[in-house]
């Protein structure tokens, strides 16, 4: 028998690890082989949908947070709770409750979080040194790493080094990664984008947060502006925001670097987490087998292995020393930041109409990113556009 | 057994009647030429015989066989096209051997027959060439050669010489004549050039508007055209026609029913004014070397052409026109010959 399992990564190290899980699964299911199919991340959700709708469903697969509610609502995800409850030594309770939010509804479990990756600041130590500034990690240690300081530092960096102070996630903050760009500051200011079917963009906290970003882009000109390619990873921006999995890119960077927590704000500390889970598809032909494999992949042992790439949601693993030292690229002290963030963090907002909401938001957010935009009015427009969908 | 019989043949394209009932018998070995003005249906008729157009009505026999629904290749006819239709991507040899090859004739026999035909047509030296490397006359000969190798019972030619220049036309004309003499096949030849028709045909069929106007030997048509149309169509420059009233006095041999009289330019002679059957004034005199073509104006205002051997009088001279009585042609109002 063969199980088809869709993943978005084509990275060899990732696939090697995943194949390792398939290998160890043979211990309990000797005849079963698992085939991991890579669907490129850009169109992952879409292609997955085609496979489901197109009558070519995989048995199990990886699912991004923004698609989880849509898929759960559409009834294409299988409840894996019975299987997990029966699995020996699985200990479902070990998973951190906040991390499970997206994937459970009362007793039903639609999927298991597999990567629970907090957003952190990546910084270019060389540029900070050149500008004669203390780096974010040091500032955080002193408790001075807040939004105001963030703006100040970024501006100085731009002025002294000529490089950009900050770049949004992957430089896509104005396009496909709007939420990743806006969420952290809004949370830091104590706001939210939406909650309980109500839009939060036009609340004062959010407005203040976005206003700061707007100032940084157009007044200070310290954030890579729209239509420009800054690129932290090639040394053209001093800071960016990203997930730790990106540390793998830093190997070849050619400059000294570090990671730091997100700056705090009036709303206090508010780490943001991006998440993905693994699920079993109702349409699949071998649902039970697939569920067994999901249980196998997410047992404590395997989660610990996966932690080198994909930060875990099991508290036992998070608290272990093994996790803090699991990533060769990141010093233990910095990994602590990660563990900390996972424990405290909130997952990115999601919704069963995410694609529609994002599409509706997009043009209004575009309008926001003009030099002369009125931030408050623009955010009002955003809310007007998405409110009906919430 | 390669006579041809057309009985009540008609052809409609959509609503248009193009051939409107043709009856004709072509004897074995006869050389028949279809002439007629452009659009009269010569090609259509020929193509119906070949099987390239189907027959809307009537019966076509080749030999004893009714061939209305027989495929072109099975009728035992071969056709030489106006454009020659040589396959541009094949050599002369392959062009000539193509039909044999398609019919599955074994290579060595094919070779023999192609070479025999090539010898007949003096194409031996050209067998390896492509059509584009041939002159017009050579292409023409290849086209004929292709028809010959199939050893058809009937040859069909659709204006095979019209793409050649005048000089070559004269030459190829005589080659086709001698080919017919040699092979003895039945041949049907379409042209709108009446010199070609005159020189080649055993029998000429004059067509007009999808109908047969007259059938006869060249001499019959030239000397006793059956009607006005044939009279003017055969002979070049064409016959001068005059209402009989325009002539002062009665003409010799004039029948009662006649209302028009015709006389060929080459039958007219210049005489002193008043001494011919009609007077005229010379308008233009075209010197062509051997003879001159005179455009003369009759008192009625009509212009006659006169072919005049030797020195021509200058323009504006007044002359008389004389003709031998036997050379006059009389026609009734209906256009039919009146004798």
């Amino acid at each position: 028998e063969e199980l088809r399992f869709t993943v978005w990564t084509g990275n060899e190290a990732h696939l090697k690890m995943l194949n390792g899980f398939a290998e160890s699964f043979k211990a309990s299911h000797p005849d079963v082989s698992v085939k991991f199919e890579t669907i490129p991340p850009a169109d992952y959700t879409q292609k997955l949908t085609f496979q489901l709708a197109g009558g070519n469903p995989p048995d199990a697969g990886w699912l991004m947070e923004d698609a989880a509610p849509t898929f759960a609502n559409a009834g294409v995800l299988e409840d894996v709770a019975p299987t997990l409850n029966q699995a020996q030594g699985y200990n479902f309770a070990d998973f951190s409750k906040p991390a499970l939010g997206l994937w459970t509804a009362s007793d039903t479990v639609y999927g298991i979080p597999f990567s629970t990756s907090p957003f952190v600041i990546f910084y270019n130590k060389d540029l900070f040194d050149k500008a004669g500034l203390e780096d974010p990690l040091a500032l955080a240690a002193k408790g001075e790493w807040d939004m105001a300081r963030f703006q100040e530092v970024a501006k100085k960096l731009k002025e002294t080094t000529g490089k950009w102070g900050f770049e949004f996630k992957d430089g896509q903050g104005y396009d496909s990664r709007i939420m990743h760009a806006l969420m952290p500051p809004i949370r830091a200011y104590g706001g939210d984008v939406w909650a309980n079917k109500e839009c939060g963009f036009d609340k004062p906290e959010a407005v203040a947060a976005v206003q700061q970003l707007h100032d940084m882009v157009f007044k200070d000109q310290s954030i890579v502006p729209p239509g420009e390619q800054g690129d932290y990873f090639s040394g053209n921006a001093a800071m960016t925001i990203n997930q730790i999995s990106r540390a793998s890119l830093m190997e070849k960077a050619g400059f000294k670097w570090g990671i730091a927590p997100l700056p705090t704000g009036p709303g206090g500390e508010s780490p943001v987490i991006g998440q993905a889970g693994i699920v079993v598809f109702t349409a699949g032909k071998q649902k039970q087998l697939a569920a067994d494999f999901v249980a196998h992949m997410t047992n404590a042992e395997n989660v610990a292995i996966a932690a080198q790439f994909f930060p875990p949601a099991r508290t036992s693993v998070l608290e272990s020393d093994a996790f803090v030292t699991s990533n060769k690229l990141i010093p233990a002290e910095q990994m602590k930041i990660v563990a900390d963030a996972i424990a405290k963090g909130k997952v990115l907002p999601s919704h069963d109409k995410s694609p529609q909401i994002l599409t509706a938001m997009k043009p209004r957010v575009d309008a926001l990113w003009r030099p002369d935009a009125n931030v408050e009015a623009s955010l009002k427009a955003v809310c007007e556009a998405i409110q009906p969908l919430l | 057994m390669t006579s041809l019989t057309l009985a009540g043949i008609r052809k409609r394209f959509g609503k248009v009647d193009v051939i409107r009932g043709v009856d004709l018998r072509v004897a074995d070995g006869e050389f028949v030429v279809f002439v007629g003005p452009s659009g009269c249906g010569k090609s259509t008729l020929l193509r119906m015989i070949a099987g390239l157009e189907d027959i809307s009505e009537g019966e076509l026999r080749i030999g004893d066989r009714i061939v209305n629904e027989v495929q072109p290749a099975k009728r035992g006819v071969a056709m030489v096209f106006q454009s020659y239709a040589l396959y541009p991507h094949l050599t002369v040899r392959d062009n000539m051997g193509f039909g044999l090859k398609v019919r599955g004739v074994p290579p060595h026999e094919r070779r023999q027959r192609v070479e025999a035909a090539a010898a007949t047509l003096k194409l031996d030296a050209l067998l390896q060439r492509f059509p584009r490397e041939l002159s017009g006359g050579q292409r023409q000969r290849v086209a004929i050669g292709r028809a010959i190798v199939g050893e058809p019972d009937v040859f069909l030619f659709d204006e095979p010489l019209s793409n050649l220049d005048a000089e070559l036309r004269v030459h190829m004309r005589s080659e086709i004549a001698s080919l017919h003499k040699r092979l003895g096949n039945t041949m049907i030849y379409v042209t709108h050039d009446q010199i070609e028709a005159m020189t080649l045909a055993d029998k000429i069929v004059v067509l007009r508007d999808g109908q047969v106007e007259q059938v006869g030997t060249p001499r019959q048509l030239y000397e006793r055209p059956g009607n006005l149309f044939v009279a003017q169509f055969i002979g070049s420059p064409k016959m001068n026609i005059l209402p009989i009233e325009a002539v002062a006095g009665k003409l010799p041999g004039q029948p009662k029913t006649a209302s028009l009289v015709g006389v060929r330019p080459e039958d007219l002679e210049l005489t002193e004014p008043g001494s011919g059957f009609v007077d005229a004034r010379i308008l233009i005199s075209e010197y062509t070397g051997a003879s001159s073509l005179l455009h003369v104006q009759l008192p009625s205002g009509q212009v006659f052409l006169v072919a005049h051997d030797g020195e021509a009088p200058p323009a504006d001279t007044s002359v008389g026109l004389a003709v031998e009585p036997g050379r006059l042609h009389f026609f009734a109002d209906s256009g039919r010959r009146a004798d």
Binding site: P41, F50, G54, G55, D170, S248, G254 | A50, G51, Y87
Partner: protein, 283 residues
């Protein structure tokens, strides 16, 4: 006469025109130069320096392109799909075009009319039902839809009309000679009409090949396995594991994808342009 003869005037005129054309050519040429040069740059240099000459020639980009994803395989996919589509289109459209141009049968006019109407309908319109059709046939994530849809879609019909137009202009007599020689209808088509239609076939082949080679929407919808990707999809798939474009690889791959076509085009350009002119690509 202002000192210059007509001829000299004409030369001056021509030089001015040529200069103007050269300027107009810049936006046509520059993207290629930039693309090629960027294919040799490192990721950071692409962002850093606008110079056309790479500071350091990164030959290994062109190696990485192949190790990053099964690019050779994807390249092959595009190639074989495009060739298959081209071959099928040539056969099918020239058969139909021949029938429409040469054969008399009841309904010919109606069929032409129907086919023409298809030319006015964008593929997007029928894409969704076609998706279900392909799904029903169990051909999702195979190359079949990428072959069948272009062959039978508007592209194929355009080809049919091109061929029809060309056949109409061919002298009938050659085919009739073939018939007299004993060829079947199919024989006439295959041995006479087709060999004479090389320019039209070339034009159709070029248009069809390019269209298939550049097809984007269909693969986007129907293909999900990496090793079944075609080039256009593969090109936009040079991203790091998290979806961020790896520009240096993307541009190197783009160069690899475009260059062979350009080179073939350069070599064949005279014939290509002539075949378009001869076949009177007019629709």
């Amino acid at each position: 006469m202002g000192g210059l003869t007509q001829k000299q005037l004409r030369i001056v005129n021509q030089v001015c025109w040529t200069l103007a054309l050269a300027v107009a050519a810049i936006p046509f040429v520059f993207p290629f130069l930039w693309m090629i040069s960027s294919g040799f740059k490192s990721a950071s240099e692409i962002f850093g320096s606008p110079s056309l000459v790479p500071r350091e020639w990164q030959w290994r980009n062109f190696v990485d392109v192949f190790t990053y994803q099964p690019f050779a395989r994807q390249y092959f996919n595009s190639l074989y799909i495009a060739l298959t589509v081209t071959a099928l289109t040539l056969v099918i459209s020239s058969l139909a075009g021949y029938a429409l141009a040469r054969l008399r049968f009841a309904g010919a006019g109606l069929i032409s009319l129907f086919l023409v109407s298809a030319l006015m309908v964008p593929e997007e319109v029928t894409m969704i039902p076609n998706f279900f059709l392909i799904k029903w046939a169990g051909l999702i994530d195979t190359h079949w839809p990428l072959i069948m849809l272009p062959v039978f879609g508007p592209q194929g019909i355009m080809a049919t009309f091109l061929m029809r137009q060309y056949f109409l202009a061919l002298p009938r007599e050659l085919e009739e000679a073939g018939k007299m020689d004993g060829l079947s209808r199919f024989g006439v088509w295959w041995r006479i009409a087709l060999p004479m239609s090389r320019p039209a076939l070339a034009a159709v082949a070029i248009i069809t090949f390019l269209n298939s080679w550049n097809l984007f929407l269909e693969p986007l919808i129907f293909i999900s396995s990496l090793e079944k990707f075609t080039l256009p999809l593969a090109l936009s798939n040079f991203t790091d594991p998290y979806g961020t474009p790896l520009w240096h690889l993307q541009l190197a791959a783009t160069t690899l994808a475009v260059l062979p076509i350009l080179i073939v085009y350069l070599i064949a350009q005279r014939q290509i342009i002539e075949s378009f002119a001869l076949s009177g690509v007019k629709g």
